[in-house]
Amino acid sequence: MTPHSALSELHAGDRVRVASVGGDATLVQRLAEFGLFEGEEIEFIGVAPLGDPIEIRIGETRLSLRKVEAAFVLVTPL
């Protein structure tokens, strides 16, 4: 994993730290409400059988988001 990879490119079981969140303000705000912002830890749980969306865990929240949106989240390995 390169120092800054996109959340959409990870593999099941990867644990990462959020480096930055891009995209439009609503997306950034909604992700932040779930506790996903710079400095927070994420576990990548997996990809849906059809290849999209992905499932991640932030704290005790399991969240599913599409790869298009996950691509705006840049992460670094823990």
């Binding site: 609503t26 997306l27 705000q29 932040a32 059809l50 999209d52 704290g59 599913s64 949106e69």
Partner: protein, 734 residues
């Protein structure tokens, strides 16, 4: 009511607020019992449940707000809850107390909304639910510490077992009496300053908390409504203020979350003792299989099969029973009442109409039982997760899958099932395409025409293939229309697919029963009247005028004829010769079938049908088919009965009906050589047309607008007309 005190203490209003899946509804049901009803709000699709309870001689009115993760309202629908909490909905009394329901097993995220509620200037009671789950995860909770650190009244509850509810009731009454206001976490000073500046330009229209939301929620509901009032200058000021905040290192999109989560972490650090390494939960292990590429998919298909099969297999006998019951009632009324418009209205109009409404109930109740179970146990979100890719290709989301699949049985429960879709745009698109799915009421039409024209002397596989093709028309058209809708009608509204996958839990029987009865009532009460009305209109158009050219009532002629037939029959059975006079009468008068046919031809609908024949010609239809199709607009399944009347046969004898239609078409210069294209054209029309008053009534109910049922009706009728025309025109030239 106790009247011991001279002045009764005023009622308290309390609002229940929490994240989805926090167990809010369970607490609401446990607090209010059977004292509840649903409140609607003009212009939005939001429903809120209201109820009351009595505690220590005080009446407490409870409002259950829709589950939400944040007060950052993005649509007018979400804004209703915020306005209500702030006392900005004139029809609703301002809440005196807010109960924040949080999930103990995910306290950090649930407290996020609580910190926003603490800013509303109302006492907040924190109901900490699902303690057992948190304990199961190895977390120790110090409730005293939560109370100390947050400054709120904290009540541990286990709503599903009724634990802690009395303390909650007491805490609500105490909070209302004492009126202690919480001190919320501080947001960065820069934001407060910008909010104050914005407020100064608004001469007190909005409370300070909304001025902050106006700055924080880019493109949110408050910005949308205020920019309409104040125009570009306000937008310019907002952009400038947000720019200054971003330059200061606190961009509005994340400053709020960082400040709130900072405060929350400090609270939970003192109040919670978590295990050093996170325990693998039930949900973790179960999800490994249920979202697995192979096992997850197989399980999903199995669940869908069971749901679907139940709708067909369990509902079918009930629906037949309702039909039979309606018929018996009609017969009973017919035998006790004299013939005439009143009897006909009561039987063919009202009874058949009511039967037509009640008939949908078994499917609705069964589907909603499954939906309630799947949602309550947490699987619904997984189903949406698995199907999202497929549905997103046509501009919908994973949550549209179950409503669309249900519509294959019947669009009415399918459209009601779209309530599980939180996103307004996705929900509307799903509602608008659901009626295209081939529902079970279309089957009789397919069955009749396939049997009449595509079975005899044809390859054995043809009937099955045609039937499959009819279903495929819906499956293919619905996604295409959904895509077109996304590209045109609802363009511009951006929707992000962020869906929580809640922890699995055992569904509660009470919650399931409550959902099922709510759905049933909602359908009967709000859609039922509309369905009934439209059925009566078509009845009247088919009934009047009920006299022939000489002024004799058709009903009298039919009765007279049937009396003669009966007399002749009795005589024949007894072995006595039938008098010539009677035989002559039998020969000179028309049969009951023929009379009914003549009557319907002369009816207003028959007249309209004949007048509109040029419209039907491009489809290969004559006025008879056209009239039958028009008579089927309230409910497509009546087509078989109408065809039986027009083609003068008994509707219970389908073989004869098929024969009559075949013979009638064979004598015609257009339909004779083109019987198959005409049959296909009729079937395609029925596949695509929205001939269902119930569906339109439910669309009206769910969208709270006449626009969308009108739109659905128009686009589907046009689509059906042109598709039927193409099928016939191509077919006749092949």
């Amino acid at each position: 009511m106790t009247t011991t005190s001279p002045v009764a203490a005023p009622a308290i209003t309390v609002a229940l607020v929490g994240n989805p899946n926090a167990g809010k509804s369970t607490i609401f049901n446990a607090l209010t019992g059977l004292h509840q009803h649903v409140g609607n709000y003009p212009g939005v699709t939001v429903e809120m449940k209201k109820g009351y309870f009595k505690h220590a001689d005080r009446r407490v009115d409870v409002i259950d707000l829709p589950g939400t993760y944040s007060l950052a309202a993005r649509s007018p629908d979400e804004m209703v809850a915020v306005d209500l909490l702030l006392g900005r909905r004139p029809e609703e009394s301002t809440p005196d107390v807010i109960v924040a329901v949080v999930d103990a097993s995910n306290l950090d995220r649930h407290l996020y909304l609580t910190t926003q509620l603490m800013e509303l200037g109302k006492p907040v009671v924190l109901a900490v639910n699902m303690i057992d789950v948190a304990v199961g995860h190895g977390t120790k909770i110090d409730f005293g510490a939560i109370a100390r650190e947050t400054g709120l009244t904290v009540v541990p509850v286990q709503a599903n077992r009724g634990v802690g509810l009395d303390r909650l009731r007491q805490a609500i009454v105490d909070a209302a009496t004492l009126g202690v206001l919480p001190s919320p976490p501080l947001l960065p000073v820069g934001l407060e300053q910008e909010a104050t500046t914005i407020l100064q330009g608004m001469n007190g229209e909005v409370p300070p908390v909304l001025a902050r939301r106006l700055l924080l929620d880019v493109g949110g509901a408050i910005e949308q409504s205020l920019v309409v009032l104040h125009g570009q200058p306000l937008l310019d000021r907002l952009v400038a203020a947000r720019g200054r905040l971003a330059a200061a290192g606190t961009p509005v999109s994340s400053l709020e979350a960082k400040a709130r989560y900072g405060w929350i972490r400090a609270v939970t650090a003192k109040a919670l003792t978590r295990p050093v390494t996170r325990i693998t939960t039930w949900t973790d292990s179960l999800d490994r299989y249920l979202t697995h590429r192979v096992w997850g998919t197989l399980f999903f298909l199995l669940v869908m099969f069971v749901v679907f099969q139940a709708i067909f297999v369990v509902a079918e006998p009930l629906m037949i029973a309702i039909d039979t019951g309606t018929k018996h009632l009609c017969d009973a009324v017919s035998s006790t009442m004299p013939s005439g418009p009143l009897r006909s209205l009561l039987t063919d109009g009202v009874l058949v109409g009511v039967g037509g409404v009640v008939k949908f109930l078994p499917q609705i109740l069964i589907l909603f039982a499954f939906i309630a179970i799947l949602e309550d146990c947490g699987y619904m979100a997984r189903a949406a997760y698995l199907m999202d890719r497929l549905m997103s290709r046509c501009g919908l989301s994973g949550k549209s899958f179950i409503p669309l699949l249900s519509s294959v049985a019947c669009a009415v429960p399918g459209i009601m099932a779209t309530r599980v879709i939180e996103n307004r745009r996705d929900r509307l698109a799903t509602i608008l395409v659901a009626p295209l799915m081939s529902c079970s009421a279309r089957l009789p039409v397919y069955g009749l025409l396939i049997a009449a024209f595509l079975t005899k002397d044809r390859p054995f596989w043809l009937p099955g293939l045609v039937l499959f093709g009819m279903y495929m028309i819906g499956f293919v058209t619905a996604p295409i229309v959904a895509l077109l809708l996304r590209r045109t009608l609802r363009r511009g509204e951006r929707a992000h697919f962020l869906m929580e996958l809640p922890g699995y839990k055992r569904p509660s029987l009470r919650a399931v029963l409550r959902r099922v009865t709510d759905a049933g009532w909602a359908f009967v009460r709000r859609a039922g009247t509309l369905i009934l009305m439209s059925m009566i209109v078509v009845w009247a158009l088919l009934y009047f005028p009920h006299k022939d050219a000489t002024g004799t009532k058709y009903e009298d002629r039919i009765e007279a004829r049937e009396a003669i037939e009966k007399e002749a029959e009795t005589l024949e059975k007894a072995g006595s010769p039938v008098p010539d006079e009677l035989t002559a009468q039998l020969e000179s008068s028309k049969s009951g079938h023929a009379l009914r046919g003549e009557w319907k031809r002369a009816s207003y609908l028959g007249q309209i049908g004949r007048w509109m024949e040029p419209v039907f010609t491009p489809l290969g239809w004559d006025w008879k088919i056209g009239m039958a199709a028009m008579a089927s607009f309230p409910a497509r399944e009546v087509i078989v009965g109408t065809l039986a009347i027009i083609y003068e046969t008994d509707k219970d004898d389908e073989d004869r009906l098929q024969g009559s239609i075949r013979d009638d078409w064979a004598t015609d210069s257009i339909r004779g050589p083109n019987a198959v294209p005409v049959a296909l054209s009729v079937m395609v029309f029925f596949a695509l047309c929205c001939q269902c008053a119930s569906t339109l009534a439910v669309i009206r109910r769910e969208t709270r607008s006449w626009l969308w049922p009108a739109f659905t009706f128009t686009y589907m009728t046009l689509l059906a007309y042109f598709a039927a025309m193409v099928v016939f025109q191509i077919g006749r030239h092949l």
